[in-house]
């Protein structure tokens, strides 16, 4: 094995947090596999932030600076990273599963005809024996929920290189910054072609986030069992508790509450002190986003619901009866 490459996403000359989280996991994997941890950084005038990547654990940073790389553009970024991968032949390439990583990684994987596993919740180094009994050692073990979150799949890429994966943001912590760490910044030449200019950015607009699930101490969340009338009660309870309102994918898909509130694999990952799951059955999809909450309280009619296997406290009952009583007792 030679190196593990992490794509460092930057916006306005700031390395995104999910990319730094990859360095945390990347260090564990490279130590296990005995290889170097490298990172690739694209931008314009971003030399000064290359050191950030080294301070957070990278041994080497491939730096590409070009006017046409200033903001993320799928076509030029695909070209530059694909060429780097062809030249350096890393064993493993990781991307954060952000809106950028989730479209850039498959584009690169298809160009390289490499395998790609989406939205991993964990990674490891391990062995795999294929159908013919051939053993592959020290390969990337990719773990992710599948089938809408009902099961956990372990996926490997035995023969093709690089082994590529996108990793769900919020699964690992940002590594401690050490300004004394040493590493190498390799300045590289970006080759961009005319056809990479087929798409241009007209403008970019920030919309203020109304829901702040990440920093909430308490979240009251509703699922399929809540129904629209349940969400009215959930909002009232959240108000009484000084909490934010969360929701499962089922509730968001049903149109009962906007996407900003979604917790889970295709929503946000949260770790509040208290998570109150109301009418949530507990699919892997949802658990992936909240199972690390300090205390989990479940309110569900079905005493056999999966969520009770993850909750510390449970109330078996109809949330439309339970929540009004809680509001009354806590007001």
């Amino acid at each position: 094995m030679n190196e593990l490459l992490v794509f460092a996403e930057q916006h306005d000359k700031k390395i995104s947090e999910p990319s730094l989280e990859l360095l945390e996991k990347g260090r564990q994997l490279t130590e296990k596999a005995g290889v170097k941890l490298s990172s690739v950084l694209l931008g314009c005038d971003v030399k000064e932030i290359a050191g950030e990547l080294i301070a957070h654990g990278a041994d080497k940073v491939y730096l590409f600076e070009h006017e046409k790389l200033k903001d993320y553009g799928m076509l030029p970024y695909t070209r530059v990273i694909t060429n780097l991968i062809r030249k350096k032949e890393p064993e493993i390439v990781l991307f954060a599963a952000t809106t950028t990583g989730r479209e850039l990684a498959p584009r690169i994987a298809a160009r390289l005809e490499a395998g790609l596993t989406a939205d991993c919740t964990d990674l490891d180094i391990g062995d795999y024996k294929d159908e013919s009994g051939r053993l592959y050692q020290n390969i990337l073990v990719q773990i992710r929920p599948a089938f809408g979150g009902d099961v956990i799949a372990t996926i490997v890429t035995p023969r093709h290189r690089p082994q590529m994966a996108t990793v769900r943001p919020g699964m690992f912590s940002v590594p401690e910054k050490d300004v004394n760490r040493s590493g190498e910044v390799v300045v590289c030449e970006a080759e961009i072609m005319e056809e990479d200019g087929r798409t241009i950015i007209v403008d970019s607009v920030k919309t203020p986030r109304k829901v702040d699930l990440k920093s909430a101490m308490v979240i009251v969340a509703g699922g399929r069992g809540a129904r629209p009338e349940g969400f009215e009660l959930i909002k009232r309870l959240a108000d009484v508790l000084g909490a934010e309102v969360g929701a499962s994918r089922a509730a968001v898909n049903a149109g009962w509450i906007p996407y900003d509130h979604q917790v889970g694999l295709s929503g946000q990952t949260v770790k509040p002190d208290v998570y109150v799951a109301c009418g949530i059955s507990g699919t892997v999809q949802h658990l992936a986003g909240m199972k690390d909450s300090k205390t989990i309280i479940a309110i569900n009619k079905d005493g056999n619901a999966q969520i009770f296997k993850f909750a510390h406290y449970g109330v078996v009952g109809d949330l439309c009866k339970v929540i009004p009583k809680l509001i009354e007792k806590l007001s």
Partner: protein
Amino acid sequence: MHVIILMKQVPDTRQAVTLRSNGTIDRERTKNVSNPYDKNALEAALQVKDKLGARVTVISMGPPQAVEVLREALAMGADDAVLLCDRRLAGSDTLATSYALSRTIKKVGNYDMIFCGMETADGNTAQVGPEVAEFLNIPQITYVEDFKIDGDSLEAKRLIEGGYERLRTKLPALLTITSTANEPRYPSVLAIIRAGKKTIPTWNLEDAGVDESRVGLKGSPTRLRRIDKPRARGVECVLFEEEELEVFLDRLRRDAVKLVQKR
């Protein structure tokens, strides 16, 4: 204007799926539906058809029963449909699937736009759209909530973390459409009956010009090593009945669980 839509039949994730012992999904014991996000993609194309006039072709890859997805699409207003169906496709991962779909699209030919759902409800990978676009060497814009066609280019609103960006790209292009983009229409009873009578062509690998060595398990770089039911944590859940809320709240207080935050 010719718009191609990629649609997939998925297990209804509102119900638990049944797995076989080898970890593959038991489709006979699982109810199947059209991937909900693909209906947003189809709706986006039908709106183009209503406004500017367009031919809408729907392609699906899957077992014979995936034809149900195509019938539903025809009933909603699509003009043509093709089912790519071949046993040799079984076990294809996203790369192999994208390759097979891109060959089928080339065979259908002469497209201006390709729309997909933003992801599927079963795999949630969101990889097939970008991979198909790469195999066809056309630009893609993902997470599109709104777009405007302007001659031989289009401008799209792409949702990103904390906001959105507006991108302009040359046609042909592939867009993946978000669930917030529109409300998919319901077909009329008459349209359902009419779609039921239509013959939908089923293509095998040779019909679509797909190289057998690049699909199925052997054409797929990734392998499923194992599949597990989620592990429950070791902690025993303390359960209360609906009538014991006072006891429940006392227990939380005793365990120092701080339910009420100060604003």
